[in-house]
Amino acid sequence: MTAGPLSLRATGRGRRRLVVNRLAEAAAVAAAAVAVAILGLLVWSVLRRGAGALSVDLLTKPPAPFGQTGGGIAPALAGSLLLVGLAAAMAVPVGVLTAIHVSELASRRLGEQVRLWLDVLNGFPSIVIGIFVFALMVEVPLPLVGWGHHQSALAGAFGLAVIMLPLVARSTMEVLALVPREQREASYALGVSRWQTVLRVVLPAALGGILTGTTLAVARAAGETAPLLFTCALSGSFVDWNPAHSVASVPLTIFTYSEAPDPQSHEQAWAAAFVLIAFVLVTSLTARVLLDRSRRKLGGSR
């Protein structure tokens, strides 16, 4: 045996493999860093520019008449609140009941079908949903409701509800699937009927998760512009709570102000974007924290 002293240093092929590994790792880190930096920059610049333009007047005053300075976005804030509230009132009951039907009552095949079409609905472009609502509720008079033939908060809210529906239904299904089967069986074993089991055992256990899904859907709906573009775009410059009227909304205000020639409008667009982004980030962050908690709770009791 005349081998020289053992060396742990890689040579030849081994060395090349190590170098390739280093390069790949560096590339992944660099790509991640670039992407995260750009994403961070986006939030930061909205926060910086928006915070600069934010003021009490902005949040509480109606827009200034043409040619004057000052004014605010109060009607848009109220309108968004109205729109999202109405949308949630339409989408949440239907979504939760659909989820109950699919998870608790329906046959597997029907369940698959409903799931498939909810996913398809979730993939529909929101601008197409805007066209649909326009054709359904704005263009033709709707005898059922009596408020037809013009844009209204109701029509806008319906568009937002169509966007929320699959989100609420899918997230509710996910939570219902987490409720342990033993809990249902224990209830049946005690002679409790199906509807009582659903109402008193399954739903209370899943409530946290359902609320989370709803909150995420609300956050999404609050930022949607496209469904409102043809259904709820005309608005006066005052706070209006009548669902039969077309009302202002925060996303649409950002959209129109961002393309307006007047620099003051740009300022207000940034401020409105700040308000919107703050609302969306805070709600979805809270929702995620709650979701983790309710998942852990359900997972723990299994």
Partner: protein, 320 residues
């Protein structure tokens, strides 16, 4: 020995009212939830029906030739979707090409490379960004991204790659360009795709990776031979998910793309997409035929997103 027959049968009947209530309650629950489920399906059907019937006049007037004619003239009522279909595909696939490697890199970074202390915060940041409304991304696109793009990025790219017609220098250094739209869509899809990728990579069984490491594989070799192949289908589905979002995005695109046809060959010129054309012209359409042509655009968009959605499902089923 006690026969089974000797035990008195237990009283199995419940109070009459309760049995009635149970039966009514079960019926009511089943009925109510079935109506809700039907309503959900009905919404999908109604959307498709409304879009098809709205597009009908244009379908009858232009047939399928609508797809390969490029004229768009409301005055002479000549409408064609070619440039808009191309615009939609170019912006979406452009975003896909940029976003896919970035998303995989972020996914790998968060699941394999990052120290645990920064995994959580960066992961949350990425997930939060998926929730940023498109109109806000568009606003940022107009005032921050597009100027940077027009005055720094595009001159650089066209000086390096200018011999490729796609990257040829734009005529008047427009700020609103197809390329800006691609960048905006990339920013919107990366958070979606990368958070799915991260979950997929984190779900690969550790035993497999440990086996590869025990055989002397480097970290990159483990990723290339174990992690990526085992979640290939999921990654493809995640990419298609992002693509679906990019295809249908109307607001952010319309804010930065310049809304102009006929399409030019260079990415550094203004353009337009299906969704952004609808967003721009629907409210101000001058004739019924124009409205119908715009809804026809919506129908094309619906078909494209539907196909990509089904493709994603098939991929998941095949590889899962």
């Amino acid at each position: 020995m006690l026969g089974a027959m000797d035990v008195p049968a237990p009283e199995l009947t419940l109070p009459r009212t309760r049995r009635l209530l149970d039966r009514a309650g079960d019926r009511a629950l089943a009925g109510l939830t079935a109506v809700a489920a039907l309503l959900s399906l009905l919404v999908v059907a109604a959307i498709v029906w409304r879009v098809v019937s709205g597009a009908w006049p244009a379908l009858r007037a232009f047939h399928l030739a609508f797809l390969w004619h490029s004229a768009w003239n409301p005055v002479t009522s000549q409408f064609g979707a070619r440039d808009l279909v191309i615009g939609t595909l170019v912006t979406s696939f452009g975003a896909l090409i940029l976003a896919t490697p970035l998303s995989i890199a972020i996914g790998l970074f968060l699941s394999e490379l990052a120290p645990p202390a920064i995994r959580g915060p960066i992961g949350t940041l990425v997930e939060m960004l998926a929730a940023v409304p498109s109109v806000v991304v568009g606003l940022w696109g107009i005032y921050v991204l597009a100027p940077f793009d027009a005055h720094h990025l595009q001159p650089f790219l066209s000086s390096v790659l200018g011999w490729v017609p796609l990257f040829a220098h734009g005529g008047d250094q427009a700020e609103s360009t197809v390329f800006s739209a691609i960048l905006v869509l990339t920013i919107m899809t990366v958070p979606i795709t990368s958070s799915v990728c991260r979950e997929l990579f984190a779900g690969v069984p550790h035993e497999l990776q440990e086996g590869a490491i025990a055989l002397g594989a480097t970290r990159w070799e483990t990723v290339r031979t174990i992690v990526l192949p085992s979640v290939r289908g999921g990654v493809v589905a995640a990419v298609i998910l992002g693509l679906g979002r990019a295809l249908g995005e109307a607001i952010a695109v319309t804010q930065v793309i310049g809304n102009f046809t006929p399409l030019k060959l260079s990415l550094f010129e203004p353009g337009d997409t299906l969704a952004s054309r609808i967003a721009n012209q629907y409210a101000g359409a001058v004739s019924d035929l124009q409205v119908s042509a715009l809804i026809y655009l919506g129908l094309i968009l619906l078909a494209i997103t539907f196909v990509s959605n089904l493709a994603a499902r098939r991929v998941v089923r095949r590889f899962a």
